[in-house]
Subunit: 185 residues, 4 copies
C-alpha cells in the first residue's frame, strides 16, 4: 500500500511536519510505502472561477491530484486556523475538486491528523475539514489524531514522549491501513 | 451608519456581486452609507507563518482590516465551495486574524449572505463561515440570507423577481441595521 | 447482508418512514435482507447519568443496540429539527454510546437519509448527525440522500415521481451495500 | 437585568450545576438578578409530532418558555455528549421551538458555558449547540466558556482554583451583561 502524507502547513519548522515525519516512520514499520510530501510543491493561486475558465487547473493542483491518484490513501496533517480549516488547505481542496469528469478526492481513504500547541490539539479544525472532503465523497476515517501541547510532545528521536499516546497513534495507523485496504480491495 | 459590503468571489460576473449591488441599494434606501468593495482590492498571498514572521501582514490584509475599522458593520456575501467556506475567503479571515494586539473581526457586526444557482443557496457554507468569525468574537447576526436559483432570481433592474423574497431581504437588512446600531451604541 | 432501516421519527404518518419503506424495497431488490424498524420499539427515557448509574441502560436502548449488532449495516432516515439532529434521535445515540466495554455504533456502516417538505431536504441536519456517529467511530458513508419537497415526491406505488432522483437513490444504495461489504469483509 | 441560568444536566451532582452556581454568584456581584434553574422542573416527553398535534406543548416546555420570557437573558451551562448537544437539551430546544406565532428563543441573548472532566472542556458541544439556537434567531454571544478538568477545577468555596481562569469568566459575564443590555435596550 502506497500512502501520501501531506502536512498542510507552509512553515518550515512546522509541528505538523514533525508529526508527518513520525507517521511516515510508523507507516513504513507497518509495511506501507509512505511519501512525505512538501506542501510548497503544490503551490497554486487563490481560486478564481475566471482564471479556471481561461487556464484550467493550475500546475500545483494538477500535481496534487496526480500524487493523490498515484497513492492508495492519504494522511492529511493539518493545523487548525481560527477553529476551522486553514484557508490555504481549503484552497487546495477547492481547486482539486474542480477536476472533471471526476475528482481525486472521490473514494480516497483519508486519515486526518493535527498537531497544535493548544489544549484541544486542532481537533475542532479537523471536524470542519471532514466536510469538504466527505462532500466530495472521500472515505474519511472516523478516528482522528489530534496532538495537543505539540511543542513539548516530541522526544529528540522524533517519537512521542507520552508512550500511551504514541501507542494510540500506532494503533490508529494500523487501523487506517486495514480500512484503506478494505475499501480499495 | 457606514456599512462595508464584501462579495467574497473573484469572478467578474459573480452572482454574489449582483446580490451585493442589490444590498447596497437597499441599505442606502434605509439611510445607511454603504460601500461595495471589490475582493480584488484585497489581494494577498496564501497564509504562511514564515512569511508573516519576516514581513508581517501583507498589504491586502492590512487594507481589509483598515476598511473593516472604517465602517460600523460588514455584510459578507459569499459563495459556498464544497459545502463550506471558500478557501480564498478563509485565507483573508486567517490573515486579518493575525493582527495584534486585537484584530478587526472582534465585535464587528456581520451579516452573512449568499447567492448560488443550487437549491440550498449556499446556506451550508454560511454555517461554516460563522465559526471562524464567531471564534474571533465577531457579532454575527443570527438571520442569514441564502438566495437559491440565483441565476434566475434577478430582474433586469437588479431587484429579486420573487417579491416575497425581496421583502424578506429588505426586512433582514432593516433588522441588521438595528442590531449593529444597538451593539455599536 | 442484513440491513436495519430506522426512520427516526415518532410520527405515524412520517415522510421519513415512507422513504424508509422505499429503501427497504430497493435494498431487497439488490439481494439484501432489510428490516424496517419502528422507532416506538426503542422507547427510552431522556438520558440521566444518575438513572444510568442506578439502573444501567433502559430496555429500549438495549434493544436498539442488540438490533444494530444483529444486522451488518444501518440506514438511518432522519428528519431535521432546527437545523440539526432531532433531540429524540440524539438521545438514543447518547444512551447506546454508554454501552461498555465497547458500543454498538463502533465500526457500524451507516447510510444517512432524510425526507423533508423544505428545500434543503434535511441535509443540514444530516451533517450534524454525522458528528456523534463518527465520534463513536461508526463508518458513515460519505454520500447522503436528502429528499426535498418530500410531501409531493412520492407516487402512489411508493416510488419517487422524479425518475432521475429515484435512480440516484438506487445507485447510492448499491454503493452503500458495496461499502458495507468491503468494511465488514 | 434578570438572567436565567440553566444547567442542562439531570445529574444531581453535576459539574455543570456547580459552574452554574458560581455564575449566579458572579452575576449577582455585577448587579444582575440571577435565577439558577433546575432542569428537572422542565421535565417533558420526547418530541413527537402526533403528540404535539393532539395535546400541544407539554407543561415542561411551556414552563421553560415562560421562564425564558420572564428573564432578559439566558446562561446555558451544558455538558457535551458525543461531541455534540445532549439529546435531552436538544429535545427541550425542539419543543420550545414549536411555540406559535413566535418562539421564546427568538432574539434571546444567550451565553453558552460548559464544564467537563475532559481536555477540550465541552467546547465542541457548544459549537453544535449554537446552531439550533441561532437557527431560531437567538442572539448567542460569541465568547463561550468551556471549563476543562472540571472535576479538579473548583475550590471548596466554589471559586475556580485557577485565578486567571476565574478572572476570564468574570470578564466574560461582564461582557455578556453589556451585550444583553445593548440588544434589549
Amino acid at each position: 500500500m502506497k500512502i501520501l502524507i501531506l502536512p498542510a502547513s507552509l512553515r518550515k519548522d512546522s509541528l505538523n511536519r514533525r508529526l508527518g515525519t513520525l507517521i511516515r516512520h510508523e507507516l513504513e514499520a507497518r509495511g506501507a510505502k509512505a511519501t512525505l510530501a512538501d506542501f510548497h510543491d503544490y503551490a497554486m493561486p487563490l481560486y478564481d472561477g475566471d482564471l479556471e475558465q481561461s487556464s484550467g487547473l493550475p500546475d500545483g493542483a494538477k500535481k496534487l491530484a496526480a500524487d493523490l491518484r498515484a497513492h492508495d490513501a492519504l494522511v492529511l496533517v493539518s493545523p487548525e486556523y481560527n477553529y476551522s480549516i486553514p484557508g490555504v488547505l481549503k484552497n487546495a481542496i477547492d481547486w482539486v475538486s474542480r477536476e472533471r469528469p471526476t475528482n481525486a478526492w472521490k473514494e480516497r481513504p483519508i486519515l486526518l491528523c493535527s498537531a497544535s500547541p493548544a489544549g484541544p490539539g486542532g481537533i475542532r479544525g479537523l471536524w470542519q475539514l471532514r466536510i469538504p472532503l466527505e462532500g466530495n465523497f472521500a472515505h474519511v476515517h472516523s478516528p482522528m489524531f489530534a496532538l495537543s501541547q505539540a511543542h513539548e510532545a516530541f522526544a529528540d528521536d522524533g517519537s512521542l514522549r507520552d508512550e500511551k499516546l504514541h501507542k494510540m497513534l500506532r494503533d490508529m495507523l494500523g487501523g487506517f491501513i486495514a480500512y484503506a485496504s478494505a475499501l480499495n480491495g
